[in-house]
Symmetry: D2
Subunit: 276 residues, 4 copies
Amino acid sequence: TFFHSSSAMANSKWDYVKKFELDDTLLPNCFAIARIDGRGFHRLAKKHNWTRPNDLRALKLMNKAAKCVMEDFDDAVLGYGQSDEYSFLFRREAEVFQRRSAKIITNLVSKFSSAFVYYWPTYFPDVKLQYPPSFDGRIVLYPTDRNLRDYLCWRQADCHINNLYNTTFWALVQQGGMNNNDAQQRLSGTLSGDKHEILFSQFGINYNNEPEIYRKGTVMVKKARPPKISRKAYIKLKQERENSGEDEEDVIMEMYCDIIGDKFWVDYPHLLGNSN
Amino acid sequence: TFFHSSSAMANSKWDYVKKFELDDTLLPNCFAIARIDGRGFHRLAKKHNWTRPNDLRALKLMNKAAKCVMEDFDDAVLGYGQSDEYSFLFRREAEVFQRRSAKIITNLVSKFSSAFVYYWPTYFPDVKLQYPPSFDGRIVLYPTDRNLRDYLCWRQADCHINNLYNTTFWALVQQGGMNNNDAQQRLSGTLSGDKHEILFSQFGINYNNEPEIYRKGTVMVKKARPPKISRKAYIKLKQERENSGEDEEDVIMEMYCDIIGDKFWVDYPHLLGNSN
Amino acid sequence: TFFHSSSAMANSKWDYVKKFELDDTLLPNCFAIARIDGRGFHRLAKKHNWTRPNDLRALKLMNKAAKCVMEDFDDAVLGYGQSDEYSFLFRREAEVFQRRSAKIITNLVSKFSSAFVYYWPTYFPDVKLQYPPSFDGRIVLYPTDRNLRDYLCWRQADCHINNLYNTTFWALVQQGGMNNNDAQQRLSGTLSGDKHEILFSQFGINYNNEPEIYRKGTVMVKKARPPKISRKAYIKLKQERENSGEDEEDVIMEMYCDIIGDKFWVDYPHLLGNSN
Amino acid sequence: TFFHSSSAMANSKWDYVKKFELDDTLLPNCFAIARIDGRGFHRLAKKHNWTRPNDLRALKLMNKAAKCVMEDFDDAVLGYGQSDEYSFLFRREAEVFQRRSAKIITNLVSKFSSAFVYYWPTYFPDVKLQYPPSFDGRIVLYPTDRNLRDYLCWRQADCHINNLYNTTFWALVQQGGMNNNDAQQRLSGTLSGDKHEILFSQFGINYNNEPEIYRKGTVMVKKARPPKISRKAYIKLKQERENSGEDEEDVIMEMYCDIIGDKFWVDYPHLLGNSN
């Protein structure tokens, strides 16, 4: 109940059932990745005529929902999104919800879902949302910097592979006049270089000039908190900025950059922290 | 990615990170309760001027979101909601998402949250939702019929205790002109009978005539599937009914009844099934 | 340390590492089966010239170790052993070690292993134990009476199937002069009836007259505690019995009976208790 | 069964119960500490008249049991023992028993317990073991080198603190003629330096000259496997050494050294490996 909580005078006969709720605390000092995946987004895309291979409005809406999550969860310092998925990095020392796994992931997926619907009209002003979409979520722990970075490499490589495929596939269909089956056949067994070649020679598309948000996905970085400022002072500072109309952008940066190489991690060392 | 999945040709260097995702399968043959709780609903209520002690629109919106969940999850046969919380019962034999705990609860809380925002305008036509609200979720297992029923008793008793308190408190404030502190003081140490008496003698309110949805909460029962019909046939039947404009009410029933006593469980024996 | 514990004055710098130990409490009100399996017992049997298909000394030693476990764990009310494995039943309401899974199973497997070595000379007076043998252990939860009984059915059926096979196999080898390969070939594809027939017609053995401890395994039942006696009084009673030289047999009964049918469970209703 | 396994022809009716056994795989790439603690060793010490504050025979027996464990578990590269406890370090990349937690810890505690009883007569030739002792066990994961080292610091500091206390306490009792209560009173509130002073001025004992095995505990280090040798070749090599009568000591080294400072870890870098 959220209005008033009567003192715990009663319920003593049945409240033994609370004991059936078991502990699911995450191992301390590991990175935690919270990942969200759209459920049935193939259907969602179709129902709302999303453009293919990428719908910029949908990607921007995903990014907006991700930003809501990162504003809500102080310990989420990095977000990486592509297609219908989003990964959030919680630092080793995160103590959010006492590291209770289900508590963290359900709050996070709830906020994301809620924000996705809430901001839909902002990004699809002319398209009515047909039904409430949903996402699933999971938390995975990574003990080392290398494991954590490899997770993100894996997702960004996945983005690259799929986007190159999809870009070529839809060029064959939309501009090349092929049907889906023929296009699929055409691409079967092709390597990365072959797809670049098809795009360039057949459609004049230089894949490397495609928008980075498609090729790399979106990287959200929460700026390092100034070291000598307490959390309380930091929150006050944040609120002043918000009230003064300063863009929140200066707290969470949205980028479409490479996170596989070392440069990104050298630029933002606070994301990994030290591994003690 | 939801448009096209290129064959798993690549990613071999990094996809070892998938192994860090650990199994969280629920123990077979237990009842599973998935419970959702509003996060920060005190603030949500205030921001949107919900009526007190109960806001019927908010309760109806919760019920609508719950119905969406139950339509989405075939194995959720019972829902119980009160205030800003909702519990869903999955039967012993439920195999939804291969009983993977995080998968079930995240999909469920996501659908609930998404539906809550989606249907807000239906229940609050004149009140703009100020921000995306969120919920947390958890799954708890109960091995016996008795444990399961006691869980629901616990929640319904909680509804009763809180609603009696809140009804009396707000009568003292709204009709009796007390401030919050004085009302709280007045109720401190009172028993159930005392509150009934205050309501009746001071405000002419017979608590037992208060709406059942406030006093008992909402019970959603999914009708038993006709025994000799396959799931496929059943889904077809359901769709025909939907297409013919028949109300979905004849599949999921919304009630405000007692679930502590035996009568409810005698009336709907399929909810517990047999305990083999 | 077991001699003296200095007050926890120090260690404050490093004892944060205790937090990495995670909770593994067993779900309340489920039956817990703790099962122990010999590791590398094929080799152990060979090294110590155990008779085949069954070595009565080894079985009796297993039973003795099991009895030690059951005397040590008040909540272990039933044991079932066959070959190199032993299962122990903890009742729904067992609170041993606050139901911490690793704590229970490690103590149990430790006591079993320790007793196995300790009592070896009693059962193998003329055979020196060549090396310290070991066992593994696991805990599995069962929510219903039926599931629990089916677990025990599964183990006893396993005993039956293996013993019939082994009895026939070793008759062919030891009395029929076959080598192992030929005996295996001979039995390949045979049904239960075929093996009975081989034993009877070829070797004059009526399988049903084989010792029950081989055919059924060993069932250890802890007698129901007299209902109106407190644990303290019960332990005192037990100690008096022990001191008076009364056989402990009157507390834990060793039997070689069927536990698949209903009779056993009707005779010892306290093993299942009631399922509330 | 360990003699013969009949093909899985039967049991189909009941073997669904196997599904109730849930997965407990350890998170990959973390250090795992398996720790064993004596249960009721206060009583064991008393019953067998162990000398106080330390019984060298008991410590040597613990070390022997630990060595058995380390010979049995290839992945256990380090052991640390003091008093009635022993910790074993499994490296990040250990794949023993597919990292199944209960499987690892039960096998380990079983082997330790079994060896403790088996080798008792070697270390206590004149003292008959009165009953089978037991141990409990647990596995704790540590994600970083620092966490892992801090765990071992914690245990070695515990050894130091307890041994200094016990040495002083028993000097007061055994040589100073105090009773236990008075000795405890005398030490209450004393700091480390005070105890050194009591030992030196009252009993002429320089604590730093006490045997290192008491002050530091025992460190067992498994030598690094020669880098270019396969496991198979390594095991063969080990067996040749064993057969040729070479002491196993040259594979597992027993030391009583400091493991808190850096030197130990610089000397044996293979224990931590690299943290990728």
